[in-house]
Subunit: 108 residues, 2 copies
DNA sequence: AAGGTATACTAAGGATTTCTTAGTCTGCAA
DNA sequence: TTGCAGACTAAGAAATCCTTAGTATACCTT
């Protein structure tokens, strides 16, 4: 099994949502305009994987956390993205409530 | 700025928590025992970054989601790890409640 | 229909990074 | 002080990514 990387699908989805072309997105990251399209296409088709620095810039431009591109299920990806907007305090409260949910489920 | 990769710190933390040596963890992933220690050390010191397949096997052995290694703050990493134990239904409920939290915060 | 344009996509080689090998270094216990 | 476990590293071999130079596809416009 060659384990499928979640990045290509997530990248495409968010890029389309933000109405950017592969070329334009690449330029916004600061890639050389002469190869921005080629590189972004390679990432989006899963041909190659960006290094962390590039990944971070992609995440910044698309306004999602870096970890978003590594979420293996859709729902977890959405949770992560939504949680980004929370304050530290709210995140802590969230963590506590998730742990309660887990305990509650076990008791069933 | 060379953007710091979150993986080294997270990897070390979970490995220690599970009381594994770099060598032993590498072997559990299926790395060649003759270089398991060297490779795990390189990942943990941030000298090199594992490819997705290796990352996935590390995540499996340590029982955390792959995205955990890409979370840039501690709290978000914990949220992600905790959320793993939830059912699809519970995740959906969680997503809804996060979105409510965001709206509530805005109203202040 | 033909030509133009925008976007997506790709092969191939040079550039860069990782993996393997063969160790050294550090701390601690006998 | 010797031995051992665990952490760590340099350097070359091997693998992967980046750059170049395009082709492919869909959709307009004339």
């Amino acid at each position: 099994m060659p384990e499928l990387h979640p990045l290509p699908a997530r990248l495409k989805q968010v890029r389309i949502l933000k109405q950017l072309t592969q070329q334009k997105l690449g330029e916004l990251l600061g890639l050389d305009p002469s190869n921005a399209s080629a590189r972004m296409n390679q990432y989006e088709r899963g041909k190659h994987t960006p290094d962390f620095d590039t990944l971070k810039r992609i995440a910044n431009v698309l306004d999602v956390p870096v970890a978003y591109f590594y979420c293996e299920d859709e729902l977890t990806a959405s949770i992560l993205q939504a949680a980004e907007a929370l304050s530290e305090e709210q995140k802590l409260a969230l963590l506590v409530s998730i742990r309660e949910m887990v305990i509650t489920e076990k008791e069933k």
